[in-house]
Every structure is written in structure tokens, then in C-alpha cells.
């Protein structure tokens, strides 16, 4: 029997029930969507507004112009963009390599000090590096007198500081994943005469690619969003990252540089957004394993 032939009252009762159980969720969703997406829509509109001031950006989507995006070229924006990519990329690669090596060691070798090592990592990781920014600043000041390349105002030293936190939580994330790769793979390779380095690089690393991608992305995002450490280390404007540079725009000249900020924020956020959404499934697994947004 099809729905059309049902008596009128039964159809409306079913509709009512559907609305009470499912339908209202769509209406609720509209509210959440507005809450979630409004600031993003606003920033898109502001980036397209050629007047570029905060006050002018309130009339949403009345003007369309790419002036703000073009004007970015007259600022240091692209230098900052490149710096952010270099620093974030290097930190991400370094973090993945070091974390993977450590996780491999903890997962595959049984050595004395293994449990103590894991416990120590867990404890150390709980203390945020950023809290010690004064010490980082003073230490780099001292190192800089001996090796200027590793002192203040050096991208390399910022990367090194980020790599200081490479082991921490990432090791645990990867350690769990490494443990899911059956050890029989290692053993059969060993019997075939492979060295431990060959097993690690040729067999294990390809198998754990998903977790490597996630750790790389998380490391990239955390360096992308870092202000406190990059601000104290990177002194000169041509060394700044996006976080340091764009803060300067908005904090000093809030009203006049607003369009530039909006355009810059969009250009910088889109790649992160796309990567994040593509890797979403894996990231959720990683997040639940203990890391939080940085």
C-alpha cells in the first residue's frame, strides 16, 4: 500500500512524528550552521571589499573586487607566507622523522630503560614549551653569541625549538599505530637478510604513511598557529611568519588594513582547511589520542 492511499489523518500523524524525531534537527542545523559559518562568510566578503576598512566591510557582498588580493603583493605578505611554509614544512618533516624513529624503537626493540623512557616522554610532553619562552629567548641570546646561525632572528633556531617538542605526544600517536603492524613482517624480512635500517625505511615506513601524514599536518598546524615563540625569536620583519606579521597588521591599524588581513587570512587558511578536511578521518583518531588544537 502506498502512502497516497492512506487516510489523511495518518499521513499527517506520520509527518508530525517525522518532524518531532528528525525534522527539527534540520532547523536546529540551520542555526548551528549560521553560528559556525557566519564569520567565515564575513571574512570572504571583507576580502572582496576594495575599501579595505573595517567599517566598509559590514555591508556583506555589495562589492566584488580582487584589489585586496593584489595589494598583498605590495606588502611583505608573501615573504611571511614563504617563511611560514619553510618553517612549518621543516618542522613537520623533522617531527615526522624523529617521531617515527622513536616510535619504531619503542615498538620493535626491547631494551632496558624502555618503560622509563616512555614514561619520561609522557611527563615531559605535559609541560608546554611556550611557558618557558623567557628561557628560550635568553638561551638563544647566549647561543647566538657563539653561533649566530642558531641565535635570535634565525629561522633555523625556531625550527630547532619546534623540533624540541617533536617526540612528546607524536611518539605515542605513532607508537600505537606501529604496534598495529604485525611484527611477523619484520621477522620474515630479517630472515631474508634485511638490516634493521632496511626494514625501517623500506617496509615499515610505507605501511605507516597515514599516521605520518597526520603527524606532519598536526605539526605544521601547530607551528602555523604559534605566536609566542616565533615572535620572540624572529626579530626582523623579513623573517616573520604569518602569525607575527598579520597580528601586526590588525593590532596596529585595525581599520585600514582590514581588507588586506581578510584576503591574507583566506589565502593562508584555504590550504590548511583543504588538508584538514581531507585527512579529517585520521586526524579525529589522532586528536582523540590526546592532542588538542594549538
Amino acid at each position: 500500500m502506498s502512502a497516497d492511499t492512506l487516510p489523511e489523518s495518518r499521513t499527517s500523524a506520520r509527518r508530525k512524528r517525522w518532524f518531532l524525531e528528525v525534522g527539527w534537527k534540520y532547523i536546529f542545523a540551520v542555526f548551528i550552521l549560521f553560528y559556525a559559518v557566519f564569520p567565515l562568510i564575513y571574512i570572504v566578503s571583507a576580502s572582496l571589499n576594495p575599501h579595505g576598512s573595517l567599517a566598509a566591510s559590514n555591508s556583506l557582498f555589495t562589492v566584488f573586487s580582487l584589489d585586496n588580493f593584489k595589494a598583498l603583493g605590495e606588502t611583505s605578505y608573501w615573504t611571511w607566507y614563504a617563511n611560514t611554509l619553510i618553517i612549518g614544512g621543516s618542522a613537520a618533516i623533522g617531527t615526522v622523522l624523529m617521531g617515527a624513529c622513536a616510535a619504531y624503537a619503542f615498538s620493535r626493540f626491547r631494551f632496558s630503560g624502555r618503560r622509563v623512557g616512555l614514561t619520561t616522554l609522557l611527563i615531559v610532553q605535559m609541560f608546554p614549551q611556550a611557558l618557558a619562552f623567557v628561557a628560550i629567548f635568553l638561551m638563544l641570546l647566549a647561543i647566538g653569541e657563539v653561533f649566530p646561525v642558531l641565535g635570535l632572528n634565525s629561522k633555523l633556531s625556531l625550527i630547532c625549538v619546534y623540533l624540541g617538542g617533536a617526540l612528546g605526544v607524536n611518539t605515542f600517536l605513532m607508537y600505537g599505530f606501529f604496534n598495529t603492524i604485525p611484527i611477523e613482517i619484520d621477522e620474515s624480512a630479517k630472515i631474508d637478510g634485511a638490516s634493521h635500517a632496511q626494514i625501517f625505511w623500506r617496509l615499515i615506513m610505507p605501511l605507516v604513511t597515514p599516521i605520518l601524514a597526520v603527524v606532519a599536518l598536526l605539526a605544521f598546524i601547530s607551528s602555523f598557529g604559534d605566536y609566542i615563540v616565533s615572535k620572540i625569536i624572529l626579530v626582523s620583519e623579513d623573517n616573520w611568519t604569518l602569525a607575527v606579521g598579520m597580528y601586526q597588521w590588525v593590532s596596529n591599524q585595525l581599520t585600514s588594513r582590514w581588507g588586506l588581513f581578510a584576503a591574507g587570512a583566506l589565502l593562508a587558511a584555504v590550504p590548511v582547511l583543504v588538508l584538514f578536511l581531507t585527512l579529517q578521518r585520521y586526524i579525529v583518531g589522532g586528536l582523540t589520542a590526546g592532542s588538542v588544537k594549538g
Binding site: I32, A132, K190, S195, L254, A265
Partner: protein, 527 residues
């Protein structure tokens, strides 16, 4: 190595098939590491930085041992990460502790000898009737120096390097060419105001001994000797101003202080014991704003977890319903704020909440002039709102994950036993979800406790608390208060006091982590 030993290495790597290329790559990398390491050791030795020298030696020795020995197999994988962790995480924690017990900060940045040199420099006057010498300004890269002619010899020096003989001069005029240096002509000098200022301010010490005085110039073509009117007596630990006879004595506080209480501007670093901690807890100007900051930090951290968690949990329940079409798209749209970089969101809201031109007042409050960023309570509300927007998707994701992994059999059994939906929810689903998410809530709490970026980007921790020192503000949390106090960004630097506060926050975070540690019981996982 014997066959028997080979058998014993349970980790077992085979020597039969060693990869020749791999070995070469290792050799190459180690050669580079050794070269860089040796270079570092040499320059640390030249600079006299014994701590850095020690670190470099130990690290290099460890690297060579680990990668060329056959015993330390796990360490081959752990060493790079461990080295970075020891230097940039463990060491700086310890260093923070050390600084907390010193008066390191503005006016106290180096050793006593440096403070003495600074004092002698500041008291420099031109020596009366001293001869002038021919001089030219020289440059190497960014560094400026003077080349002078004295007794037929050419001497060159910079602000950091005392005068040194580099050649002879036959005519006794200002040198026009100096080996390894570029001589700046008079015309260039006169055409650049900036360069002139630098040259007038430049002082080139005559020797390593600061009491010998230094060469300065007024016109860029002749130099004269300047000597300090201050006299340093290392045995009595006093500096005497010969012009007015005032004696400055070295004190325990790392300053040179005269009997009338005035001090020289430059002091040195000394251990001050618990002074910094005492100041945090007893100095009346600091105590009350800091107490406010601490209280707000706790409130902020708790609300930053509970509010978005509540929203996320509710959303997870509502949208964990297979009858809803387009759930995947909805979910992706819901989590967009989470994928948008946090510092940009905070800056974005900074503009949106602007009282005069912000879109929030304009669109949602009919153009009213609500001072979101200037009123302490509104600012707190607003920054919480921003953080909720930023983090609810995380809890939504986590709770959805927890809901979907609930054991179906338990729910079925409950349904069969006649539990209604309300009962199922309160007695089974909620407790199970809470158990799964509790460890995350605790680590999120610790994270929010130190969430510098959002607080700083949104409103610099403002609006300022009236009368508070160090520009402490109503939305400042402890870590941003440390930022203000430290003076690394602006204001008077007080590294000692900032580090003392860091140590206290470390202790608090440690206590929270200890709870988290017991909760997560992660230790049991690596049996």
C-alpha cells in the same frame, strides 16, 4: 664480533646483507655532523662559552658512539629526537628554574665585569689636552670601525675589537686604504645623516682594559682619546667618580650603590633566592591584579572546556541519527571553525567585536555602540564566545566518535530489559561517553590554561586593570601575564620575576597533569 654474540642480540640485525649504500650515506651524514660539531666546539671555545662547549662535546661524543657502535641499536633511532628534546625542552625548564632565582632583567644582564665596563664607558670624557690623531672611518659588512695613524703605524678597531696594528703609514695622514676594510669617503659620510650618527656614537676601545679609554671622533677625520672619570677598584669592589668623589659600592643586589642610595644604571646578575617568589605573593601592587588573573585563568580554563563540550555533546547526540540526509556535508560544515587556523579566527573576531566599526554591533545590535573589548566583563564574555566557536567542533567530533563506538550489545540488552530512552541515556550512554572523553577533558583543561594565542590575539589580555603594573588586563591568563611581566615584547624586562611565575604555573600544570596521568592510565597500554 663472535657468532655467539650475534645470536644474543635479540633485536638481531644481520651483517650478512649490509646495505653498502646505506653505510655510505651514514658515513657521509656523520662526517657532516662531526664537521659541524667540531666547528661549534671551536667557536664555543673561542667565545669562552663553557656551558655550550660542554653540551657540544657531549652531544658529538654521544652521536659518534651511538652511530659507530653496534651496541646502542635503539639509541640510533632515539638520539636525534632526544637531543632536541633535552636541549629545547628539558634544559629550558631547568634554565627557567635558574632564572627564577636571579635578578636577570633590565639593568642586570651580564657579569659584574660587564657592569663595570658599562659604568666606565658611561663616565667617559675627553682627556684634556690629549692629542688628536688622523682618522678614517672604515667598514666591513655592517660593522663600522676606525682606522687611525699613530707613530707611523696604522691601527684598526671596532666597537667590539680593540685597536690593532694592521700596517705602517709613511706620510702620517689619515689612511685611504686599509687591507680587508672598505674606507668610507668623506663625501659618503657627509651625505648620510644616519651614518654620521653612528660614527659619532662609535667608540673604539684602545685595549682590552676598559680603563685605558677609547677613541672617538666628532668630525670623522680626527680622533681623540676619551677616558672614564670613573675608577674601578677590584679589591675594594668600588667604583669612584673622580669628578665629584662619590663612591659606588657593589651590593648583594647586583648594583653599584652610593651612600646616598643612588645606583649606577647597569648592574649584574646575582642570585636573589626566593625574592622573586616573595614579590609575587607579597608586593601589594602585584598581588591583587595577579590574584584576579589567576582566578580568571581557572574560570576561563573550566568554562573553555565545559561550554564547548556541552554544545559538542548535544550536537553529537542530535546528529548521530541515520535518518538525517546529508549528514556528512553537515558534519563538514559544522567543523569548519576548527579547521580555520586559531590565531586568524581570534584576529578576525577582534575586528568583528570592534565597538565602533565591528560587524557584530552593526548587524546584530542595530548599530549600538557596545564596548565589547573595553569593558572587562564583556571582554571576558566575548573571548569565551570566540573560544567556544573555535573548540566546539573538536568536542563534537570526539563525542560523535565515542557515541559510534558504544557497544551495540549493551544498548540492545538495555532495550530488551525495558529501559526507556531516557533511562538508556542517563544510565548507559552518558556514563560511557563521559568515561571515554574524561581524559581528553582534563588535557583540554591543561591546554586552555595556557592558551596564549587566543587571549593575546583577541584583545592583548585587555582591557587593562586600573593601576596594575606590567599592563595586566582583565582577560589576561597566567601565561599572558608572564608575557607582560617578562618584558620581552615591550616595557622593562624582568626575566627573573617572569620565570618565577612560569615556575609556579609549571607546578600547577604538573598537578593537573598528575591527575590526568592517573586518569588516562596510558602507562598500562605499553606492557
Amino acid at each position: 664480533m663472535s657468532e655467539a654474540h650475534e645470536e644474543k642480540t635479540t633485536t638481531g640485525y644481520s651483517r650478512r646483507g649490509w646495505n653498502g649504500w646505506g653505510f655510505l650515506v651514514k658515513l657521509l651524514i656523520m662526517a657532516v655532523v662531526n664537521a659541524v660539531g667540531l666547528m661549534g666546539i671551536l667557536s664555543a671555545f673561542n667565545a669562552g662559552s663553557w656551558v655550550i662547549l660542554g653540551f657540544a662535546v657531549v652531544l658529538l661524543a654521544a652521536a659518534d658512539y651511538v652511530y659507530f657502535s653496534r651496541r646502542a641499536l635503539p639509541l640510533k633511532y632515539l638520539l636525534p629526537g632526544l637531543a632536541f628534546m633535552l636541549m629545547f625542552q628539558v634544559f629550558i625548564f631547568g634554565y627557567t628554574g635558574y632564572i627564577a632565582f636571579t635578578n636577570y632583567g633590565a639593568g642586570h644582564v651580564g657579569s659584574q665585569q660587564l657592569a663595570v665596563n658599562a659604568a666606565l664607558q658611561q663616565g667617559e670624557r675627553r682627556v684634556e689636552n690629549s692629542p688628536t690623531v688622523p682618522l678614517s672611518v672604515v667598514q666591513k659588512g655592517d660593522e663600522l670601525g676606525f682606522a687611525i695613524v699613530q707613530d707611523g703605524e696604522v691601527l684598526v678597531g671596532t666597537a667590539d675589537e680593540p685597536l690593532e696594528v694592521v700596517g705602517t703609514s709613511a706620510d702620517g695622514k689619515a689612511p685611504t686604504e686599509v687591507d680587508g676594510w672598505e674606507v668610507i669617503g668623506r663625501r659618503d659620510l657627509l651625505s648620510s645623516q644616519d651614518l654620521q650618527t653612528q660614527v659619532v656614537n662609535l667608540r673604539v676601545p684602545i685595549s682590552d682594559d676598559a680603563t685605558d679609554g677609547s677613541i672617538r671622533t666628532r668630525d670623522g677625520s680626527t680622533g681623540s682619546i676619551y677616558q672614564s672619570s670613573m675608577e674601578w677598584d677590584p679589591d675594594a669592589q668600588t667604583i669612584t667618580d673622580t669628578e665629584n668623589g662619590i663612591v659606588y659600592r657593589a651590593t648583594d643586589q647586583g648594583t653599584f650603590t652610593a651612600d646616598d642610595g643612588t645606583s649606577l644604571t647597569t648592574g649584574w646578575i646575582v642570585n636573589v633566592g626566593f625574592d622573586n617568589f616573595m614579590r609575587l605573593f607579597t608586593d601589594p601592587t602585584i598581588v591583587s591584579p595577579l590574584a584576579m588573573v589567576a582566578l580568571w585563568t581557572v574560570v576561563w580554563a573550566i568554562l573553555s572546556v565545559l561550554v564547548p563540550f556541552g554544545i559538542g555533546l548535544l550536537m553529537a547526540f542530535v546528529y548521530n541519527d541515520e535518518r538525517i540526509r546529508g549528514r556528512r556535508i553537515l558534519r563538514t560544515l559544522f567543523i569548519l571553525p576548527y579547521a580555520f587556523p586559531a590565531f586568524m579566527s581570534a584576529l578576525l573576531y577582534r575586528g568583528m567585536f570592534n565597538a565602533e566599526f565591528g560587524v557584530i554591533n552593526e548587524l546584530f545590535f542595530g548599530g549600538a555602540n557596545i564596548d565589547w573589548l573595553g569593558n572587562p566583563w564583556l571582554a571576558r564574555l566575548a573571548v569565551l564566545f570566540v573560544n567556544v566557536w573555535l573548540t566546539y567542533p573538536y568536542y563534537f567530533l570526539v563525542c560523535t566518535g565515542a557515541l559510534q563506538s558504544l557497544p551495540a550489545s549493551t544498548l540492545e540488552a538495555a532495550a530488551l530489559d525495558g529501559a526507556n530512552r531516557y533511562r538508556q541515556m542517563t544510565s548507559i550512554i552518558l556514563p560511557l561517553v563521559l568515561v571515554a572523553t574524561a581524559p581528553l577533558l582534563i588535557s583540554s583543561f591543561a591546554f586552555s590554561f595556557n592558551n596564549f594565542t587566543v587571549i593575546f590575539m583577541f584583545n592583548d589580555g585587555g582591557p587593562a586593570i586600573p593601576g596594575a603594573p606590567y599592563a595586566l588586563g582583565a582577560t589576561d591568563i597566567l601565561i599572558s601575564a608572564i608575557w607582560d611581566i617578562s618584558g620581552v615584547n615591550r616595557g622593562v624586562a624582568d626575566y627573573g620575576l617572569a620565570s618565577a611565575l612560569s615556575v609556579i604555573v609549571f607546578v600547577i600544570v604538573g598537578a593537573i597533569s598528575a591527575i590526568a596521568f592517573r586518569q588516562t592510565k596510558k602507562l598500562e597500554e605499553f606492557a
